[in-house]
Structures are given as structure tokens and as C-alpha cells.
């Protein structure tokens, strides 16, 4: 048993991630499932499940204990040795253990349980653990019920395979007196259910506790010194860590520590605002502010790129004046419909479904993905409009994940906007072959686009795409909070004025980011909240990170403007930004 727990914990530690990986399309999800890493994860969990089931079966004694028992047939011939028969109950147990292990692993993947959410408030570890324990137990009981039910169905259909295999390899006979378990009468055994359920509860509770403890310890706050007191600590001090490229979890912990120190620790704030000896340079503040600002500008760039991709997706290939009726094919991200496709149109039969983020549970929901591609005029690239009953609900075509953005740049040769970027770097002759290849690719894609099944797998889910853009937004939220608290505190605590010189840059970055975020939120589906399931063990806070980012951005700006007040008029910012700052000062935002 301890071996099992050890192996599970090793897997937890290997597979954790601070940034959830969100599959944007069904194909990506399937790809994630059949990825070798995941396959190993599932197989090992299945084996562990079997081991746990074996332990519990042995502990239960009674009829589950041994794989082979002597047969109960009394009318058999007078043998010298009693025949050994397969104890189907034991086999059932072992297989249910394996099944539960596998299902646990699958759910772990789908629910992104390897994601480590950082807590909203800081609490002592024991309190956090105690708080989650009851929920964990309840969740395990319910989930075990589902697993047992699913396993019974699976065993009913496929139970004979392992039965036959084991009995032939181990030379055991199938007991003809007892009901075989893979029939309805065999399966409707309450005591069997109860035992299997209990085994499942035990298994899930131990595994979930291991997962919970890992989560709590990994997201515990770590104290990074700002000013290293000893030479060995120079590598661990906060400015250095922020500026180098540490593993993501270290960076997260460092930013969390920055956020906490900016709010609660006057001593460490003084260290941040201090000057170096003997040069008199504010190294600490420069390093910290530079890193935070670069994180924020990074995010700004990413959002701008997303918006441009969304705009480009909606652009017409050949600007046609009239509205074309779209075929029934749902949109894929890279396809620009040709004018000739309009002849293949049938009026669409599926009703226009809104792509609201109203799916519960799994990240992708089936029916609402069917959307029509529309060819609108150039002037409204992302305006969701219904022009006529047959046409144009702008579909997932708008949504590209980050990986597609790189591909997009090379595929949209026909769009005059994008092709300009590639012109300079190409020679004439390779370009001819290249364009021919591109043509062929597009033809294949258009052909495939008509196949609904292909589109079912390839189409991008908008809600998932949006979540993927903001998947590491927790870093930015902490950077915003830390920076704004430090700036607000510097009004009274900064003796050397190190913050003043960077104030224009900070304000510029924050205001630009706010503009970009506001524009991004005007895109369809971004401002709709995914439904919240309260009281679940699985943490889905990564789904709403964009709202937290927007709120903390606003609060950060208000914090700075409230503290500085009218003094902000003396800061050098562009006139446009000055106007926005004035709005903040008047509480009109």
C-alpha cells in the first residue's frame, strides 16, 4: 500500500503544472489523451488500482480472497485432487481496481487536475487541509459510485475476455455452479456492489489526499529575500529570480511573494526602494519593475496579436460586395472560403446556435460547435451579426490558439494584409512553387472542410481558446498587484525617489494594457462567464482568470491614482493617457 502511495505521489510531482494546458479543439483533446506521457500515466494508475484492489480483497477475506478456489461441484467424478476454479469475485475486484485507476487517470487529465491553483487567501497548511477534507470524502464517495456503475456495464459486455484468458493460462476451470458474473443476474449482487464501492472509496480517498497534500505544499508561499545577506543567497534573491528564466513554478512563487511583500511588509519594501552601495543605483527596484512591466507588455502584445488574428479571419478573401450564402460547413480557423464555393451551398438546416460558454463539465460540448462561416464585408470583422436566416453566425473561425497564429501567418497568402509581410523575404522562383503548394493545401482544406466529421474534431472551441490565451494570467495579476502596491507605498516610504523616474513607464504600460483588455473583451464570448459549479473538488479557477485580470488591472490603476491624486498631472504621459488618468481621478471609469 505504501508503495502505491509512493508511486502516486511521484506521478503527482512529475505531472504538475502551474499553467493549465487547455485543449482548444476535440482533436487536441484526443491528442492529449493518446500522448505517450499520458498513456504511461494511465497504465501505471491502472496497475496501482489493481494493486490496491488486491490489497483490499485480501483484507476483506471471505469470498474475495483468492483468485482460485476449489470448485463447489459435488457431482463431479471422484477425483483425487479437487479441481481449482476461478473465483470470479476476486477477478471482478482486481479488474474494477484497474478500471478505477484508469478512470482516475483520465479524469485527472480532462479536469486538468495537474494544475496547481494558488489560493485566494493565505492560510496555514493544516487549516487548508482540514477545510478540504470533508469535500474530498464526499466527492470520493460519489465518484466511486459512478466508477462502479461504469465498470459493471463494461464487465457485462467484456467480462468474458479476461475470464477466459486467466482460466486458460492458469489452468483453472470456470465454475459452472455459480452464476457467471458477466450476466445480469450475476451483477445484481448488492454485496458485490458494496464491496466494490467501498474499495473504490478507499482508493480514491488515499489518492485524493496525496494529491491534495501535494497541492497544498507546492503552493505554499515561499519567502525570497530581496537583499541577500549571505553570498550563497545571491541566486535566491527576488530580483535575480525574476530576471532570470527559472522554472515556471519558481517564478510563480516569486511573484506571489512579491505581491505579499508589497502589501504586508514595510521592512522588505524598504529593501526594494533602497540604493546599492557604493554606486547608488536602485538595482532592486529596477529589476523588479522591469520584469513586471515586461510581463505586462508581453500580455499586451499577445492580446493585440489575437485581436488581429480575429480581424484577419473575418476578412474577405476577395472583397465582394454582395453577401454570399455560406455552406453548412462550420468554420475552421485557417480556411478562407473561395468565391466558387458559393455554388455548393445548401440552405442550412441546423439552427443557429449561439456559442455561449454554457457547457458544464467537459471543456468541449458537442452540438454548439456547428457554426457557419460567413463572408462579411471588410468593415465589420468581428461583428457578430445575423444577416439572413441562412447565413453568418461568425463561428469558431475567429478563434485561433497561439500555435495557429504562427501557421496563420504563412497560410493567408491571399489576404493582402498578411502577404505584404512575406514579400520581402522571398525570391521569385521558390515563391511560385510555394504558392502552388499553398493552393493545393487550400484545396485539400476546403474539401475536408465540407466533411462534417473532420470539422467536428478540428474546429476550435471559442471558450477554450479564450481560456488558453489567459492560462498564465495569474502571473500578470500578481505582477499588477505587487507593482501597484509598491507604487502606492512609495508615496510615503520611498526616500530616494527611485519610483518616480519609472512612473511614466508604469502608467503607460498599465493604461495600454487596459485599453487592449477592454477591446479584447468586446470580442464575442469573451465576456460571458462559464457556469460555476460550487462545491466541487476540481478547481476550475483557470477558466475565469481573465475576469480577475481585468478587475485587478482596474484596481491597480485606481490605487495609484487615489494615492497620488492631483500630483499625477505632473507626470509625463501622452495626452491620450492623461485624459484617461483624469477619468480615473474623477471616478468615472
Amino acid at each position: 500500500m505504501s508503495l502505491v502511495t509512493l508511486v502516486i505521489s511521484i506521478f503527482n510531482a512529475e505531472f504538475y503544472a502551474v499553467v493549465p494546458s487547455i485543449p482548444c479543439s476535440r482533436l487536441a483533446l484526443i491528442g492529449k489523451i493518446i500522448h505517450p506521457r499520458q498513456v504511461i500515466h494511465s497504465v501505471v494508475h491502472a496497475i496501482m488500482g489493481m494493486l490496491v484492489a488486491w490489497c483490499t480483497a485480501v483484507m476483506t477475506k471471505g469470498k474475495f480472497q483468492f483468485l482460485a478456489v476449489s470448485c463447489t461441484t459435488s457431482e463431479s467424478l471422484d477425483d483425487a485432487l479437487p479441481q481449482m476454479c476461478l473465483n470470479e469475485y476476486h477477478l471482478f475486484f482486481l479488474l474494477s481496481g484497474a478500471f478505477m485507476g484508469y478512470s482516475y487517470s483520465l479524469l485527472y487529465l480532462i479536469n486538468n487536475m495537474n494544475y496547481l491553483p494558488f489560493p485566494v487567501i493565505q492560510q496555514y497548511k493544516y487549516l487548508r487541509f482540514r477545510r478540504s477534507l470533508l469535500l474530498l470524502i464526499k466527492h470520493s464517495c460519489v465518484e466511486s459510485l459512478y466508477f462502479v456503475r461504469n465498470f459493471c456495464v463494461a464487465y457485462y459486455f467484456f467480462g468474458y475476455i479476461p475470464k477466459v484468458w486467466i482460466s486458460t493460462t492458469m489452468n483453472l476451470h470456470l465454475d459452472s455452479e455459480l452464476h457467471p458474473l458477466d450476466s445480469l443476474t450475476g451483477l445484481l449482487d448488492i454485496s458485490l456492489f458494496y464491496h466494490a464501492w467501498l474499495c473504490g472509496v478507499f482508493l480514491l480517498i488515499t489518492w485524493y489526499i496525496a494529491w491534495l497534500l501535494f497541492k497544498i505544499h507546492a503552493t505554499e508561499t515561499h519567502h525570497f529575500p530581496v537583499q541577500p545577506t549571505f553570498a550563497e543567497e545571491t541566486d535566491q534573491c527576488l530580483p535575480k529570480i525574476l530576471n532570470s528564466n527559472p522554472p515556471l513554478i519558481i517564478k510563480f512563487l516569486a511573484l506571489q511573494d512579491l505581491m505579499l511583500l508589497s502589501q504586508y511588509s514595510p521592512v522588505r519594501r524598504q529593501e526594494v526602494f533602497s540604493l546599492s552601495q557604493p554606486g547608488g543605483h536602485p538595482h532592486n527596484w529596477t529589476a523588479i519593475s522591469r520584469e513586471c512591466l515586461s510581463l505586462l507588455s508581453d500580455l499586451t502584445q499577445r492580446l493585440i496579436a489575437q485581436q488581429e488574428a480575429a480581424a484577419a479571419n473575418g476578412r474577405v478573401k476577395q472583397p465582394a460586395g454582395e453577401l454570399k450564402v455560406s455552406p453548412q460547413t462550420p468554420g475552421a480557423s485557417n480556411i478562407i472560403p473561395r468565391a466558387s464555393m458559393s455554388s455548393l451551398v445548401k440552405p442550412s438546416l441546423t439552427p443557429l446556435k449561439t456559442l455561449s460558454g454554457s457547457d458544464v463539465g467537459s471543456p468541449l460540448s458537442s452540438p454548439s460547435l456547428n457554426c457557419k462561416m460567413g463572408i462579411l464585408g471588410v468593415n465589420s470583422p468581428w461583428h457578430v451579426s445575423v444577416q439572413s436566416p441562412q447565413v453568418t453566425r461568425r463561428g469558431p473561425k475567429l478563434w485561433t490558439s497561439d500555435s495557429d497564429l504562427q501557421m496563420n501567418g504563412s497560410h493567408q497568402k491571399s489576404s493582402p494584409v498578411v502577404s505584404a509581410a512575406r514579400v520581402g523575404s522571398e525570391v521569385v522562383q521558390p515563391r511560385f512553387i510555394y504558392t502552388w503548394l499553398q493552393n493545393k493545401q487550400e484545396q485539400i482544406k476546403n474539401f475536408l472542410a465540407k466533411r462534417v466529421l473532420i470539422m467536428y474534431f478540428f474546429s476550435k472551441h471559442p471558450e477554450a481558446s479564450i481560456q488558453a490565451v489567459f492560462s498564465d494570467a495569474q502571473m500578470h495579476i500578481w505582477a499588477l498587484e505587487g507593482l501597484s502596491h509598491l507604487v502606492a507605498a512609495s508615496f510615503t516610504e520611498d526616500q530616494f525617489g527611485v519610483v518616480q523616474t519609472t512612473l511614466p513607464a508604469i502608467l503607460n504600460t498599465l493604461l495600454t494594457l487596459q485599453e487592449v483588455v477592454d477591446r479584447y473583451f468586446k470580442l464575442p464570448h469573451v465576456s460571458s462567464k462559464p457556469p460555476r459549479i460550487s462545491g466541487s473538488l476540481v478547481d476550475t479557477s483557470y477558466k475565469t482568470l481573465r475576469f480577475a485580470l481585468r478587475a485587478s488591472l482596474k484596481t491597480a490603476l485606481y490605487r495609484i491614482t487615489t494615492v497620488f491624486g492631483e500630483h499625477l498631472n505632473a507626470v509625463q504621459v501622452s495626452t491620450e493617457h492623461k485624459k484617461r488618468l483624469q477619468q480615473f481621478l474623477e471616478y468615472k471609469e
Partner: protein
């Protein structure tokens, strides 16, 4: 003693018409001084709030939502111009309002519903001064919820004994939270590691309390006694300390028992239990509603904690002050707003700039 001063030219008079006599709630928005009154909706078809905005805007938006029943508390989010949390019977509604919009009826899509099973009725709310967290509490639930409003995640803080929470007050520096319970015990939580200490009171439950601006002193009153107690807390330093640091006993700083005064108009009897208290943001003035009269007390926030009365405010005959609040960022002293309740069921709001020294 003075009679009520003329209405401040900057405030509109807000009349709400015939409303059943519930408990109106007044809040001052940060910086702006938006105020509104509401009725706690004994009649379910009037669960609405009316906002009156600053001069220049003639619109009074009213907020209606089907879940907005039995509103018991409201709070504006600090460091924000547009978010209002409303404590309702079964949930907390968070309204996102546009401060520049002219619509008189914001749609219910602007409201976020924060609900948690078993947490109803919600009667007290408190925003963290840094603006990120919202505390909600109910007198029948022993769990206090800490909400991260934008992600709608909540953390439950549980304790044992004492019942739910009847009054919440967050200290202005963001370090401590007072949570009064229906029994003779009140708790003070520190907002870093969320541990708490509790104090038993002698006679009854803690009726009301307010914090000094730096979070080092808590003034509170107890139901059934007409004194103001003070509890001091150690200086907040460092991080991750997880200590509340309160002193072991509270001392009495003011005695509000009934006394008689000789005035120009004859004898006046003043005194009694304190109904609610507010401390102004500079820490220089404390206003207390005593069983029908408003008494601004002058106090100094230095180490010698002096407390002396600077006078009384009395409204029109028959008016009962229900709510008081200081303007959060008034530059010329302190601006106190009193909402009082006249028998004819009309609201009247007036405010008096305190700096002029009439009192």
C-alpha cells in the same frame, strides 16, 4: 445644541415616497459621495435600490433583480467606481454599474450572483480596503465566506461556537476584521493568515464597532450597556505573523448614560445606548448615534487617547437618525451625513461640514 442646519447645497433631497418602515441603509461611495436609500423589501415586488448621483446628473437609477429580496446590507467596492455588493436573502448580488451611463434601470445582467449553499440570509458585507476580497456573513451560518468576486471563488472560514455573524467591520488599513456574533462573544480576525482571537463580553452581544484608521484601536459597544469600550492591538509589522495581537481586556473610554443639559430651550435629556458609530478617516472625530440623537464626539488619535464630547446634533422634531457616515475623502475637515427617518415616512438627507465649529 443646534437645530438641524440647512441642507448642504451639494446634496439633493431624496424622497422615496411611501415605503413601509424598514431599515434604510446609507453608504457613502468612495470619494464621490453617492448615496442612496433602499427598502428592505417586505413586499417582494419592491426589492429595489435607488441611487442618487452627484449634481449634474438627473438620473436616479433603480436596481431591481428577482433575487434581491430582504436586502440587509450594501457596500461599494473600494478603489472602484462601479461595483456595488448587495446582501440579499439567499445570495450576494454584485452590481456592475457604469458611472457615466444615463440608464435608469440597469439590466439584471449587470448583476453577478454569488451564492453558497446554506449561507442565507446574508446580513453583513465588508470589502477589503485594498479592494480584492469581499466578506459575507450570515447570522445563522457559522461559516464566513471570503469571496474573490471576479472569479467567483470563495473560501469558507469556519469557527466553532457563538453562532453566526451579526456585524462585520474591516479596519481601514486592511489588517483586521471584527466579526460580532449573536452571543456574548466577538471575534477579531487578522487578514493575513486568517486566524482569529475572541473576546467574551459581560452582558450581551457586541452591537456595533469601528476601527481607528491605522487599525490599532477598536471601539465597540455592547447591547444593554451605554458605554463605549476600546480594545487596542499591537502594531502591525512584518508578514506571515498570523497574530491578531489584541490586548487582553478592553477599557471603557466613554460613558453615554443619560444626563441632563441646560440649554436655551430648557432641559434636555441625552444619553443611552449607542446605536451605531463611525470614525472619520483622519481619526479625529467619532460620531455616535445614541438612541435617537446624534452626538459627534471629538477625540484625538494620539497615545493619550482623549475623548471629549464636542456637541450634539439633533434633527427635526420626531426625526430619528438611522444612519451616519463620514465622507471618505473630504479635504476640509470632516463631512458627516445623517439620514434620518421622519414619522411621515419621508427621507431627508442633510449633512453638516464639521469644520465650521458651530456645534
Amino acid at each position: 445644541l443646534c437645530s438641524c442646519p440647512p441642507p448642504h447645497p451639494k446634496w439633493k433631497q431624496v424622497t422615496l415616497g411611501h415605503i413601509p418602515p424598514p431599515f434604510p441603509t446609507l453608504l457613502l461611495a468612495p470619494h464621490h459621495g453617492r448615496s442612496w436609500g433602499e427598502d428592505t423589501g417586505r413586499r417582494p415586488r419592491f426589492p429595489s435600490c435607488h441611487l442618487s448621483l452627484l449634481p449634474g446628473s438627473a438620473t436616479i437609477p433603480s436596481l431591481k433583480h428577482r433575487l434581491q429580496r430582504n436586502v440587509a446590507a450594501m457596500a461599494w467596492k473600494p478603489l472602484c467606481a462601479s461595483i456595488l455588493a448587495v446582501a440579499c436573502q439567499s445570495c450576494v448580488l454584485v452590481w456592475h454599474l457604469d458611472p457615466t451611463s444615463l440608464s435608469t434601470r440597469p439590466s439584471s445582467g449587470c448583476a453577478q450572483v454569488l451564492s453558497y449553499p446554506g449561507h442565507s440570509p446574508v446580513t453583513s458585507l465588508a470589502w477589503a480596503p485594498s479592494g480584492e476580497l469581499l466578506l459575507s456573513a450570515s447570522p445563522v451560518d457559522t461559516t464566513m465566506l471570503v469571496w474573490d468576486v471576479s472569479t467567483e471563488n470563495c473560501v469558507q472560514l469556519q469557527w466553532f461556537g457563538g453562532g453566526g455573524v451579526t456585524y462585520l467591520a474591516w479596519s481601514p488599513d486592511g489588517s483586521k476584521v471584527l466579526a460580532a456574533t449573536p452571543s456574548a462573544v466577538f471575534r477579531v480576525w487578522e487578514a493575513q493568515m486568517w486566524t482569529c482571537e475572541w473576546w467574551p463580553t459581560m452582558k450581551g452581544r457586541c452591537q456595533t464597532g469601528c476601527w481607528s484608521p491605522d487599525g490599532s484601536r477598536l471601539l465597540f459597544t455592547v447591547l444593554g450597556e451605554s458605554v463605549i469600550y476600546s480594545l487596542s492591538f499591537s502594531e502591525y509589522r512584518g508578514e506571515m505573523q498570523g497574530q491578531v495581537g489584541g490586548s487582553k481586556t478592553a477599557s471603557i473610554v466613554a460613558d453615554l448614560s443619560e444626563t441632563t443639559f441646560e440649554t436655551l430651550y430648557g432641559e434636555e435629556r441625552v444619553g443611552g445606548e449607542a446605536h451605531s458609530m463611525v470614525w472619520d478617516p483622519t481619526g479625529e472625530r467619532l460620531a455616535v448615534i445614541i438612541r435617537g440623537n446624534v452626538a459627534p464626539w471629538l477625540c484625538c488619535n494620539c497615545s493619550f487617547f482623549l475623548f471629549s464630547s464636542s456637541g450634539f446634533l439633533r434633527g427635526e422634531c420626531g426625526a430619528q437618525p438611522q444612519l451616519i457616515a463620514f465622507h471618505p475623502s473630504f479635504k476640509k475637515g470632516a463631512l458627516l451625513t445623517v439620514v434620518s427617518w421622519l414619522d411621515s415616512m419621508l427621507f431627508e438627507v442633510f449633512s453638516s461640514p464639521d469644520g465650521s465649529g458651530i456645534l
